[in-house]
């Protein structure tokens, strides 16, 4: 296996730090496999990924990762119950048509879920709506209303409530300030719903 990219996206660095060495991991929407490769090399995990795009799937397999091509909303259902320790959904939730169905499936096939998404209540997004009156465009959500793949707008507060509503529990969370592809960032402690660009949550079933 080729050497890992130790300077991967900042949100992925946080996610990686939450994962126990040697565990079984599936990354839903794994892109070119940066996180998986990092976890395999540095944490000795048994990792697999699902990715829709043929180019990216091929890039993963070429570097020696176990990845399959498909739609995460469908592929997530075939695994046996409890197959994984962690099911990761990074920067994809905002594009999911049925988030509750997906989150339930994640916690069926895995013990814990890790979800990250851009925070729609960041002050700059609020500022744009308030002062310009146009739908906001940010570095985290860089699309116009008519061409965005991001069909869901989620805030940190929304997600906390959502997790409760579907009957699961937040085990860990981090609000971070970083740009979408940036390798640098910081944890936001003060007023996260206003100041964080991304939220990362570890969720589990109540009885864990």
């Amino acid at each position: 296996m080729k050497s890992t990219n130790s300077r991967m996206r900042y949100d992925l660095q946080i996610i990686a730090s939450w994962i126990e060495p040697g565990s079984h991991v599936v990354d839903l929407g794994c892109g070119e496999g940066d996180l998986l490769q990092h976890l395999i090399t540095h944490k000795g995990v048994h990792g697999t990924g699902i990715e829709r795009n043929e180019e990216k799937v091929a890039a993963c397999i070429e570097k020696g990762l176990s990845v399959l091509q498909g739609d995460i909303n469908e592929e997530v259902h075939d695994y046996p119950e409890g197959r994984f320790d962690y099911v990761i959904l990074s920067q994809t939730l905002q594009q999911v048509y049925e988030p509750a169905v997906l989150i339930r499936a994640m916690l069926r096939i895995g013990r814990k879920g890790i979800v990250s998404f851009p925070n729609f209540s960041h002050w700059d997004i609020r500022r744009q709506v308030f002062f310009t009156g146009f739908a906001p465009v940010s570095r985290q959500l860089p699309f116009q209303w008519f061409n965005t793949p991001n069909i869901r707008v989620i805030t940190l507060k929304d997600f906390r409530k959502f997790v409760q509503d579907v009957g699961f529990k937040i085990l860990k969370e981090a609000a971070i300030n970083t740009h979408s592809q940036d390798r640098h960032g910081s944890i936001v402690q003060f007023l996260p719903n206003l100041r964080a660009t991304y939220g990362i949550f570890m969720i589990g079933k109540d009885y864990l």
Binding site: E54, A58, I61, E62, G64, L65, V67, G70, D78
Partner: protein
């Protein structure tokens, strides 16, 4: 499968190779077939490329499709016009790297290209078997390959790889001899034929059997059922291509003429192509072998054979790591059939990678030189090699 082989554009090749053969199951210890019939002696033609590592853990078995043979790569002599059928994939530094791996390819039993099949001499009569040759299955082909692998002193294969009917043999290897297979690459294949695939095979068989020269399979001392076999091959070629590839390759272009001939000569290029492919095939392939191998493919049903009707149960026996590959324009074994394999493996919690390659060349895409397939196989084999030697 069709033939696309041409000289490597960078002239990279395994070089000169030699066809060998291995004979086993000498009477009275004949091979027992799935049909309960007995067959022996059994000869298998095979070739090897690269060097077997001292620990014997670098062997890759390549499995060919309907009309393939043991000659997967390289040349028999410097004068050969063409290299082996998968020369673009097998060789030094190629997708299946012969600098690293010991590559084996054998001709399936039932075929006519060096292994025992209906055109071989029946020791009981001293004449060619013809229809006295027992019906062999994909399982029987794999059982014979296992005898060869044992003969070569290999306990565990690093990978079994093959497309189409070769892909069925890959799946069969994984459930029949799971402890012998570290990884598997089924390409453009299926766990069982659809009605569409069986239908095309049946039309092809009917074409052979309708040829008066076929004579119930007894034609080895007279004229061959050449017309029937040529038409059978023409039908095959249609299924190996796709609407898109035929449109690109032929369209409605005419062959060496500017207007219709208003008779039944080959007007269109596609007609001329099919006639040429049919004629060419007759010179190198036996009509009875075509009947036997297509029947084996139609009978194949992994779930029925090994899982009491369940593909999931059948594949629960497999230990291998999998790379499943399909092609967008393959209408003989469409992607949904590859996804069924992936799904069954996932349900068993098996390690599986899957890629659907965008390709216009239909079922034949796996034989055509292309970077995507080459790098996928290369990357996967590197990983397995690394894991095995850890």
């Amino acid at each position: 499968m069709s033939e696309y082989t041409q000289h490597d554009k960078d002239l990279v090749s395994v070089g000169l190779v030699e066809k060998k053969s291995f004979t086993f199951a000498e009477p009275p210890s004949e091979m027992k077939l799935e049909s309960d019939a007995r067959l022996g002696p059994v000869t298998i033609a095979y070739e090897t490329y690269g060097a077997l590592a001292p620990d014997r853990r670098n062997a890759v078995l390549v499995l060919h499709a309907l009309s393939g043979d043991s000659h997967v790569a390289g040349y028999y002599s410097a004068e050969d016009e063409k290299p082996g059928w998968w020369d673009c994939m097998v060789g030094p530094g190629k997708g299946i790297d012969t600098d690293k791996f010991f590559v084996i390819c054998s001709n399936i039993i039932g075929s006519c290209l060096g292994s025992t099949g209906p055109s071989a001499i029946n020791p009981a009569t001293g004449r060619a078997y013809g229809l006295d040759f027992p019906v062999v299955t994909i399982g029987d082909m794999v059982a014979a390959q296992k005898a060869l692998i044992g003969h070569l002193g290999i306990e565990r294969l690093l990978c079994v790889v093959g497309g189409s009917i070769g892909g069925m043999q890959v799946l069969e290897w994984c459930v029949r001899y799971p402890e012998m297979v570290a990884s598997a690459i089924p390409l453009a294949t299926t766990m069982r034929h659809s009605a569409l695939a069986i239908a095309f095979n049946e039309v092809a068989r009917q074409s052979i059997m309708a040829d008066p020269n076929w004579n119930h399979g007894d034609y080895y001392n007279g004229a061959k059922p050449a017309l029937g076999l040529a038409v059978a091959r023409m039908i095959g070629h249609i299924t190996y291509l796709s609407d898109e590839s035929m449109r690109l390759k032929f369209g409605r272009r005419l062959q060496d003429k500017s207007d219709f001939s208003f008779n039944f000569d080959a007007d269109f290029q596609v007609e001329s192509y099919l006639r040429y492919q049919g004629r060419k095939f007759v010179d190198r392939f036996d009509a009875n072998s075509f009947l036997y191998i297509t029947k084996a493919a139609d009978y194949y049903d992994l779930g029925k054979q090994h899982g009491e009707g369940s593909a999931v149960r059948a594949l629960s026996k497999a230990h291998a790591r999998f790379l499943v590959i399909s092609f967008t324009s393959d209408w003989l074994y469409p992607t949904y059939q590859a996804r069924d394999i992936v799904k069954a493996l996932k349900k068993n919690g098996r390690d599986v990678s899957f890629c659907e390659i965008e390709a216009e060349w239909g079922h034949d895409a796996f034989l055509i030189p292309g970077e995507r397939l080459k790098t996928l196989i290369h990357g996967f084999l590197e990983r397995i090699h690394h894991e095995i030697n850890q």
